[in-house]
Symmetry: C2
Subunit: 695 residues, 2 copies
């Protein structure tokens, strides 16, 4: 008999095939002039070199963690009557890390091809270039969801065990955390060094081929933004599916997540194929229309699936609530970063009185911007809960998890829109470096602007999705602990008291205070890492300008040593990414094995609160500083080169590590912490210091 | 029979007498030359004018709120069989606001006298000037604790009802919130305007008498820092006492808080009288030694009191835990803001590559600085809880409240140390404006540096104290709600479920997400208010330089219109303070009356988490930017006027509203929110929208 959950692997394969189709479409376009091929080749080479070295290091880490998992979980292997469980968990973890790496590699591969092709096509106009950019992004999007859901389906099909899928999710997330932190440090290292020596010290334009850091800067867009955002959303996507599976066990609803995810993929493929731009079209609008169409298709298909498979429509309703919340949260972050809205206008105006007032104003609006999304997440949680609660015990929390799956169902399209951004950003860089003329640069600028608009929405969406997902994961963590405690023979009353996660419980409070501090410490480590790394690179860029004769003057035939800069950024990023990411996992284990399940519950909740707060603050403040600078560059308050512009550049530079390094890594961080908690819960209920001391 | 709690009013009167003694000591010192008297008089006049106008506006607000309280609480007056309760609550509220205002006025009065006197005494050396500065601060400290504890004693003595004392605390806190927000906006308005036009645009030194904003700047130190910090600590002090009272009702331990507070005052008076500086002494060390001695005296006296009055020594232990935590938290914030420690050194070094790197680095260390204090608060909470839990039901939470009282017992001395700072800061300004020569300025600089060191510790202390206090208040809020629900005839199981404040309850989560966002929105409103107000003042300062002939050149006899600037800062601050403070109280009521007690519990906890996070981040980042700038001014990285210095000035300017407006107001904000919750709990349990809708 056809099992209905098989819609998931089928949809996943459709997604991968659609990705291949778009890949071929992009691949057969011309890559342009020799110079363009050369530049694009350098970016490609740098990106691959970075990924290769990063994956080599991470392979060691993954091997160690995966082996330890296999030894100790779900039970210590010597005490487990069924040691295949251990092997399955370990293998699922490896497989998750592998799928995450594969999706990142695949997306980056096409992105570094599509950039030059879109730039060359821009000679033929906006409506020639846009599809290349968008379909390049769609390859990434389809690869991410396709590999993720196929991976989950394989693990689930082989084991039938949501616990093993949890291992898969942990593997994917842990790799995503490292990849994102590393990519984020790389991209801002190169960006800051290129800007500071090039634009500020020497006054040469952005993307000028004389600048030794320019290729590294372009590489950064690919390893940071393409691979980074993809990993972030993949990570939430997988985690939300696994949270629904775990919570669904007692309700007999394990497979609904696979079905909804499969339906979502089909909606995204259909939606993406409808993204069109007329001859006089607006690319930003085309992207957004695609998103809205996808949402509608999902809602309709999911309704039909629920109806035919006999799922209560309240569950479908909860998923729609999540989807709506995602869209609304995205739109509010758009308000805070739009060039024609008050926050950006006021920040640009404040630049007139210097960089300090620019920063205070931008930071203040960033602080205000956290309110609508946090309220949105809170309301979506409560509505989804009370919508499903009448179905019976455990359904309320399950409703929250369904909301997270609804929000993430259209993730294929969101990633596509998002990856479009760095591709066309690169196109602009290549057009500039290859001297393709003002007309082409103008078109690539238009493509780029649409990318920024789409990005504001997708970033808000990503944070909202992470918010709902971690709440669902917190519930899944609790569920795992519940069964582990039951198995240990604890009484229901005792279990209830351990797992109430009451804010009046001192263990919960202790954990919460530590959890609240963690995202702050983590983002500080990443930003300080960027600072240290940028210093090393600045020294190198200055050295090249000083020591390579004719470079500064732009003598024909004189080329900087791009590879050296790529190498410095790579080595530095890899050195800086380990401490922060290891601390994230390590501290979670310390809190768990010292304070026990209650402390860990408080810790996870605390980190969710402050993680979302800081992620929203940093992403939105960074975006609005960027756009305030761009607004001034259009000519207001003195335009380019004025004092106001200089002040706005400072704000933009401060915002860079906010929005591209620390802010977006926080989503992944809190997801990984929740997954660590869920994976280790079964051990922590047995072995924790305070418990052993009888406190 | 002598009731032992009467030690509280007796100690309060001793404190007020000691304050009077120091007042007379300071008052009889010479105020110096005619020019000095003139400047000091202008500062005094401006400060009084501000306070007068502020208090006039707040009187209206207090009258409205107090009347409403009297009508509706503890029960609607028409439904209360004993309407004197309503009148008592209302009167206690007025009385609390009055005491808070009185302490602020009194402290500011002496501070504006002591500044010139200390400056004049500096002609005779450090050991002549220091006692004037310190004793001036001590007047403020003793006034704050004296009036607060006397007020509490009177209310308690007359009513015997902790509920009425809660009203007193709410009155004092609400006034403190407004006063602090208003003072904080005033001080930074003047500071930014004076610096931006004076130092940056015209290149004239700080405190130059030609600058029209200079008097307003000095006024700001008094209305912002002296009155502000005093109000903040008074507010936590009173709240911690009332929290212990409320939690102590069922345990028969209502009066222990009065006794410990009384003992603390005696310790602070003794400790302050021992603060001495030798002829070659170090003022910073003298201040810190005084603090340590006070702690030891308190621990000994509190032990003796517990022993003789038969209180279990575990309660004493919990108070010592709180005191230790306060000291440790203070010392860690000292690390993050000290000129010879890594954070400041690295931030100064980062200034070499511009203001953006200065800001990223300082902000990152600010983020890291939240970890030790949050861990400290978490550990102190847990240790105090588990120390007292063996005494029986309810004692664990009571232990947390005892820790907060222990931490705040020495608050008289902390306020003294803290008020010392702005006094000697003003002395430096007066010495500069009156042209007293380099030798005197050097001595006032030394006094000022000691003030900054002491300030780092007292700020950390204030935040830690607020942290423990709001946790105690959360428990008191719960206790109040518990009895209200009991009175409504709800079953114990139902009450337990409403008041478990479980993180898995969607109402608690919804409340928590809103609560997490509130401190961010609040601080943004204050900082944007500073920005708007500074713009108005900058326009005026520029106008005066442009239109008053001979002012810029410093022609003898030409004086700017100082009063106009003071007036602009005053009007603007009063206009900006109302929205943010009203929102704080209003949103708390909205969440309570819509979502009910569970949502309000989550809301309060969420605001505590993010409030402490942001307060620590902003205070410490602000302090370290300030000191990085000062470090460069000593000559490193090019010294004054270098590019590194310019970059560091930007960081310092960003840090100003962080550390002097938003950061310290957050303590008061979260305390007020908790008090609103506790006061209104009895109404909210009956009337809340979701409850009425049956959700």
């Amino acid at each position: 008999m056809f099992e209905s959950w098989l819609i998931a692997p089928i949809a996943a394969i459709i997604s991968i095939l659609a990705g291949l189709y778009f890949y071929r479409y992009v691949d057969k376009q011309s890559s342009g002039t020799e110079r363009m091929i050369e530049i694009s080749g350098a970016i490609r080479e740098g990106s691959k070199a970075f990924l290769k070295r990063e994956y080599t290091i991470l392979a060691i880490f993954v091997a160690i963690v995966g082996t330890l998992l296999g030894i100790f979980l779900p039970k210590p292997i010597w005490a487990n009557p069924d040691p295949t469980q251990n092997i399955a968990l370990s293998l699922a973890y490896f497989f998750g890390a592998f799928c995450s790496a594969l999706a990142g590699y695949f997306g980056m591969d096409i992105a570094t091809k599509a950039n030059a092709k879109a730039a060359y096509a821009a000679k033929g106009g906006l409506n020639k270039a846009f599809p290349i950019g968008f379909r390049g992004g769609a390859v990434m999007g389809f690869a991410v969801v396709g590999f993720s859901l196929l991976g989950i389906s394989i693990v689930y099909g082989l084991t039938g065990d949501p616990g093993a899928v949890l291992g898969f999710s942990f593997g994917a997330s842990a790799l995503a955390l490292f990849a994102k932190a590393g990519g984020g440090i790389f991209t801002k290292t190169a960006d800051i060094a290129a800007d500071l020596v090039g634009k500020v010290e020497l006054g040469i334009p952005e993307d000028d081929p004389r600048n030794p850091a320019v290729i590294a800067d372009n590489v950064g867009d690919n390893v940071g933004d393409v691979a980074g955002m993809g990993a972030d959303l993949a990570d939430s996507y997988i985690a939300s599916i696994v949270a629904v599976m775990i919570l669904g066990v007692v309700l007999g609803l394990v497979e609904i997540s696979l079905i909804f995810a499969g339906v979502g993929i089909i909606a995204a493929v259909l939606g993406a194929s409808m993204v069109r731009i007329g001859t006089k079209g607006d690319p930003g609008r085309a992207l957004n229309t695609g998103t809205y169409i996808t949402c509608i298709i999902f809602a309709v298909l999911a309704f039909a699936a629920s109806y035919f498979l006999g799922y209560d429509l309240r569950l479908w309703g909860a998923s729609v609530v999540g989807l709506l919340a995602g869209i609304i949260i995205g739109m509010t972050s758009d308000y805070f970063t739009s060039e024609n809205k008050k926050p950006v206008l006021k920040t640009a105006e404040a630049s007139k009185t210097g960089s300090a007032t620019n920063i205070i104003t931008g930071f203040s609006y960033g602080l205000q911007s956290v309110f609508p999304p946090l309220l949105g997440i809170g309301i979506a949680t409560a509505v989804a809960y009370y919508l499903c609660a009448p179905l019976g015990d455990g359904y309320g929390v399950f409703g929250i998890a369904m909301a997270s799956i609804g929000m993430l169902s259209i993730v294929g399209l969101i990633v596509a829109n998002d990856a479009y951004g760095p591709i066309v950003d690169n196109s602009r860089g290549i057009a500039e470096q290859a001297g393709m003329g003002d007309e082409v640069i103008k078109i690539t600028d238009e493509l780029d602007a649409a990318g920024n608009t789409a990005k504001a929405i997708t970033k808000g969406f990503a944070i909202g999705a992470a918010g709902l997902t971690v709440i669902a994961l917190l519930a899944a963590f609790r569920e795992t602990a519940y069964h582990a405690l039951l198995e240990l023979g604890r009484s229901p009353a005792e279990i209830e008291s351990i797992l109430s996660f009451s804010l009046m419980d001192p263990k919960v409070l202790l954990g919460a205070f530590i959890g609240v501090a963690m995202p702050a410490v983590f983002s500080a480590m990443l930003m300080l890492g960027v600072g240290r790394n940028a210093q090393r690179m600045i020294t190198e860029v200055r050295r090249q300008f000083r020591e390579i004769p004719g470079l500064k003057e732009g003598k024909p035939g004189v080329k900087p040593d791009y590879a050296k800069c790529v190498d410095i950024a790579t080595t530095g990023a890899l050195r800086e990414l380990l401490p922060a990411s290891t601390l994230t996992i390590g501290m979670t284990l310390v809190v768990g094995f010292v304070g026990g399940i209650s402390a860990l519950g408080g810790y996870l909740a605390g980190s969710i609160f402050s993680g979302l707060l800081l992620a929203l603050l940093m992403s939105n403040a960074g975006g609005l500083w960027d756009n305030a600078k761009k607004l001034i560059e259009t000519g207001v308050y003195g335009g380019k080169g004025s004092d106001a512009h200089k002040a706005a550049v400072v704000g933009d530079t401060v915002g860079d590590p906010f929005k591209d390094t620390a802010g977006p890594s926080l989503n992944t961080m809190i997801t990984v912490m929740s997954l660590v908690g869920a994976v280790f819960a079964v051990l922590i209920v047995q072995y924790n210091l305070l418990g052993i001391l009888g406190i």
